[in-house]
Every structure is written in C-alpha cells, then in structure tokens.
C-alpha cells in the first residue's frame, strides 16, 4: 500500500479544520492551566493548613492519576451528579485541570526562588500584600520559569489526541473517522503525526528563542 498523494491532498482541508479544534483546545486548556496553577501554587504555599493541605492533596491526586481517566470522569461520570458537559468543554477542562497541577509546582519553584529580602523590603515600604505580589514578587518569579511553563504547553498540545476518546472532533478523531470511512489509515494518520511533529519542532524553536531573549534581557 503506497502513500496516495491525491487522497492526502483531498483530506487535507478536513484535517485543517480539525487542527483548529486541536489548537483551540490547547490554547484554552493552557490558559486554564496557567490561571488555576497559580491559584493552586498560592493555596499550596499558604500558611493556613486548612488551605495548604487540601491544595497539596489535590495536586498529588491529579498528578498521580492518568489524564485519560480524568477526561472520562468529567465526561461520563459527572452527568451522574447532574453536571453535563459538552465533550469539547469536558476535554478542555480536564486538560487544564491536569496541567494546572504541573504548572502549580513550577510556579512554586519560581516563587520560592525570590529572595526573602524582597518580601522584607516590601514590608519595610509598607506595601499591601496584593501590591507586593503583583509588583514585586511575580515580576521576579515568572521570567525564570517561562521555559518550564512553555514545555508544559507543548506537552499539553501532544496530549490533545486523548480527547478523541470522548469523540471530540479534533485531529485524531477526524483522522480515525476518515480512516474508517475510506479504509485508508496511512494518509490521515501520517498527516496528523506530521502536523504534531512540525508544531512541536516549531514551538521548541520558539521556546529556545524566548529563553535566549529572556537571558539577554535579564543580564
């Protein structure tokens, strides 16, 4: 069975449409992971054990269970509790939730790396906790961890095919449908693989560029 170029060209527009869903899920999922991750990191670092313990437990729990199970849970089990989510929403939510726990640990490392003297200087200047955090701590904690966060963006992107398990019409699911309709899997699966390869390589290159730029800016 040889690679049929004309067939590949024929299915390209359909796959391109599905790629939009994949990218959408990636970006929204990642923004969710970033926001939720910061909240989790702060909760985890709280001096109040009633906040830090549940946060630590949640992070451990999510990190120690497979993403696929979490996706199934949100999509198939939640309706039992009266929460019915569309497949795409459930999928994006699961991706964001899962990766927020990884982002939380990265944030924590970044925040703990800001010297104690910075907090003390902020106290001595009588800055409010919010202003201290926004103007003094975050601007120092975030730049060093951008590469680590970006790596999780790529990782999240590569896990979006898992959404095909709940029939989200992203790239993988679309390729599977084309395959089962035409009995040709070679072209659609190859094209999807190529798409991920190219996007991952491009992002990796962008991340390296970004890292170099950050290093120049900080020196």
């Amino acid at each position: 069975m040889l690679f049929d170029w004309s067939f590949a060209l024929e299915i390209l527009p359909i796959l391109a449409q599905a790629a939009v869903i994949t990218i959408e899920a990636t970006l929204i999922g990642f923004v969710l992971a970033l926001l939720l991750g910061l909240a989790l990191a702060l909760a985890r670092m709280s001096r109040n054990p009633f906040i830090s313990f549940p946060a630590a437990g949640f992070i451990e729990f999510i990190r120690s269970t497979p993403l696929l199970i979490q996706i199934f849970f949100l999509y198939f089990v939640f309706p039992k509790f009266g929460i019915v989510l569309p497949a795409l929403v459930a999928g994006i939510l699961a991706l964001g939730l899962h990766y927020s726990t990884y982002c939380a640990e990265v944030y924590r490392a970044g925040l703990e790396n800001v010297p104690r003297g910075q907090w003390e200087a902020a106290t001595a200047l009588n800055l409010a906790p919010m202003a201290t955090f926004r103007d003094i701590i975050l601007p120092q904690a975030i730049p060093p961890i951008i590469p680590a966060l970006a790596n999780y963006l790529v990782a999240l992107f590569k896990e979006t095919p898992l959404l095909s398990a709940i029939a989200v019409l992203e790239l993988m699911q679309t390729a599977k449908i084309i395959g089962s309709d035409t009995f040709r899997y070679l072209e659609p699966i190859t094209l999807v693989g190529l798409f991920f390869l190219v996007m991952s390589l491009v992002s990796a290159a962008l991340i390296r560029q970004g890292e170099a730029w950050l290093r120049r800016r900080r020196s």
């Binding site: 010297p115 003390e120 106290t123 001595a124």
Partner: protein, 257 residues
C-alpha cells in the same frame, strides 16, 4: 519630650533561644542611636521587630505614642493584626545590609513604587519626589539604571532614597555598610551624615563603624546577649566604658582595625 520609639519589656524568642530579653529602650525624637555589640547579641533583631519583620513574644513596642505590636480592642490591648500594623509602621523606614532593591525596576521606579501604591501619590508627584531624593544622595545621573548596573555604594544610596520617599519619622539602618567594599563605605556614611544634618529624623543604626558611631550618634547602646549592657553618650562610652564586656568588645574591635 515623649519618646518616639519605646520598647517596654520586649522579649523575642526563636524556639528556646531568647534573642531579646525583657528589653527596655526609649528613643527621643530626632535622636541618633548607634547600636553595637557582638554578633548574635540581638542588635539586628531590635530593628527587625521594630519594622515588624519579626513578631515579639512578650512586652510591647510604642511608636509615636501608638502601640505597634498591640492594638486596642474593647479597652484592652490585644496582639496587633497585619492590617493594624500596616497603619502604624508607615512611620518607620528601613535600610538593609544587602540593599534589597527591586532588581526589575530602575532606581527611579524603586523610589516611586511605594509612594504611588501606599501613599497614593500621582505618577508626577512620585517622580518629582523620587528624583529629588536621588539627587540628594548624589545619583541624579543614575535614575534610569537598574540595580545590577550600580555599584554597592550606589545601590545602598538608592535604598536610602527609596526609604526616605515614604517620609518616615524613624529610620533604621541595619549594618548598611557591612556588605560594601571598603572604598565605598564613605559615600554611604556621607549620605547618612547629610540626612542627620538636614532632616528631622530619628535614627537607629546597627553598625560596626565605631568611628562613625562616635562622631555621629547622640547615644551608643552596647548589646550583649539580648540586653543593653551599657549605654551613654559616645564620648563617655568610648573613652571610659564601665562594663567589662564593653571594654573587651571595644578592645577586640579596635585591635582588628
């Protein structure tokens, strides 16, 4: 005159270790107090509890007639919460041994951040105040520089300007020349001298610069094991120390120089 800072029976413990032991100390407005003593004697802790960077276990501290460590509730004094402490500690400014400048901001921004956020100054007013102070400390040409482009002495002068921008009544200097190369110590001490002459500021300084303490301070306090072992006007203190510990410390320090 009523003291502007008053420590009354203050004890600070880390676990079982008492760093300050039932300490009493009154500081008059505009007074310059030099605090000396061996390391671990509690002299830095004195400044840190006054800045509320550490909490005390016993006693009470007053600033400008107001309790700092406690607040009144239903006629009784209870330990102060964060919010109340913020309302009192604005009268105090502090300069640190390691400068603790904000590395992601220029010298000017370092001096504008708190006046805008805490005092609510407009950008223009904050900038005017900041540049005036940076000029006073001799850094008119370094306003747009980030801390990593400044020498240690310049960084410490920015830190002094940053603290002054909040118009404190009391300034705390915690070994502010200890992290500096010897040739940079003078420029920082000169700025402090100038402050003493031109501003109505109460100053508490922990220092190892005996010469500066003698020339600048109104009073020298010698700390030993969490207590003030001896205090007095510098001339008396340095020429005729009464306490044996003081004598041992002074001769050890003078030998080293």
């Amino acid at each position: 005159m009523d003291p502007i800072v008053s420590f009354q029976g203050v004890t600070k413990r880390y676990g079982y270790l008492s760093v300050l032991k039932e300490l009493d100390l009154d500081v008059a407005p505009n007074e310059k107090v030099a605090i000396i003593g061996p390391s671990g004697s509690g002299k830095s802790t004195l400044l840190r509890v006054l800045m509320t960077l550490e909490q005390i276990q016993e006693g009470i501290i007053y600033v400008d007639g107001q309790p700092l460590t406690h607040m009144e509730r239903n006629g009784a004094l209870v330990p102060a919460d964060e919010r109340y402490q913020r309302s009192v500690r604005g009268k105090i400014g502090m300069v640190f041994q390691n400068f603790n400048l904000f590395p992601h901001m220029t010298a000017l921004q370092n001096c504008m951040e708190a006046p805008m956020n805490v005092l609510g100054l407009s950008r223009q007013d904050a900038q005017a105040r900041a540049s005036e102070l940076l000029e006073m400390v001799g850094l008119a040409d370094k306003m747009q520089s980030r801390p990593n482009r400044l020498s240690g002495g310049q960084q410490q002068r920015v830190a002094i300007a940053r603290a002054l921008a909040m118009r404190p009544k009391v300034m705390l200097f915690d070994e502010v020349t200890s992290a500096l190369d010897p040739e940079l110590v003078g420029e920082v001490l000169n700025v402090i001298r100038k402050l003493g002459d031109e501003h109505n500021l109460t100053m508490l300084m922990v220092t190892h610069q005996m010469g500066f303490a003698r020339e600048f301070a109104d009073r020298v306090c010698f700390f030993y094991e969490g207590r003030i072992a001896e205090q007095g006007p510098p001339n008396e203190f340095f020429t005729d120390p009464k306490n044996e510990r003081t004598r041992a410390f002074l001769s050890a320090v003078l030998e080293a120089h």
